[in-house]
């Protein structure tokens, strides 16, 4: 069995290493210490139909074993396909209007968009807000009721810290958390589908 040392590697590195190794091996044993890694490797195993086993070791380490089965799906499965139905998506809101042509209409359309999000069968994994979009998450915003409902539904809402700072709103965040450009880029590249009310 191929053994992989993925200590000090954070997600999604252990998954990428496991996928690479499983191209040439029927079974791999991966040593990890990122808390998220066993869960994410399990998701990979569920998608690709690998046998999955995890053993807790010392010092917060885990040994995860993945073995191919006769049901294993060959070919590429997106590493970020956390939603098993492949319906996973994130939403990016980068302005306080929706569409171009009329600002008043655009602002009201965006209200309709966010409300309609709350009624979707599949909620987004995350909502990222940057530039003018950060106004939605701050005190006095009339989006807070819908955004809080989405948050209660498990949606992670994140607003760009540099943007909040630019608008003088850093202390006014009323829903979700503050994030940075590195995390925004990471979130975007790890998700297959980005929905943006442009």
């Amino acid at each position: 069995m191929k053994k992989i040392d993925a200590l000090d590697k954070v997600c999604p590195a252990p998954i990428i290493m496991a996928k690479q190794a499983l191209k040439e091996n029927d079974a791999v044993e991966i040593l990890v210490d990122d808390d998220m890694a066993p869960e994410n490797l399990k998701k990979l195993a569920d998608q690709k139909k690998y046998d999955y086993n995890v053993e807790n070791g010392d010092n917060g380490q885990f040994t995860v074993t993945l073995k191919k089965t006769d049901k294993t799906v060959e070919g590429d499965v997106p590493i970020n396909g956390f939603n098993e139905q492949g319906e996973s998506y994130i939403v990016v809101i980068n302005t306080d209007t929706m569409g171009h042509g009329d600002e008043t209409l655009g602002k009201n359309l965006l209200h309709g968009f966010v409300y309609s999000l709350t009624e979707q069968d599949v909620l987004p994994d995350k909502i990222l807000c940057y530039n003018g979009g950060v106004h939605l998450v701050t005190e006095g915003s009339d989006y807070l009721t819908d955004l809080k409902a989405l948050e209660e539904g498990g949606v992670e809402i994140q607003a760009c810290g540099a943007c909040l700072d630019y608008f003088g709103l850093k202390d006014k965040v009323a829903v979700g958390s503050v994030t940075n450009m590195f995390n925004i880029v990471e979130t975007m590249r790890k998700h297959n589908r980005i929905v943006r009310p442009d």
């Binding site: 209200h111 819908d146 539904g153």
Partner: protein, 88 residues
Amino acid sequence: MGQTFGLMTFNTTHEAIQIKDILHENPDYTSSIISTPGSISAGCGMSVRFNYDEKNAILQLLADKGFSYQQIYKGNRVGVKSTYELDQ
């Protein structure tokens, strides 16, 4: 059971936005503008969602100001799904 709310539809998008603005000027009322649900109208459109308990006060306010609307629906939301019945 679910969450009960009111929904007011209009003949035009402009009317919906106008009424939303009027209600937003008045801090006594809780309202928001939403896209008219497909189960009510096959076409596009915007509606005003409001606290059903405030229906009579809102209707009085609109009557005083001379504004009209198309229909009022009583909505019931369970989980992520809302159903609507004609209120009047």
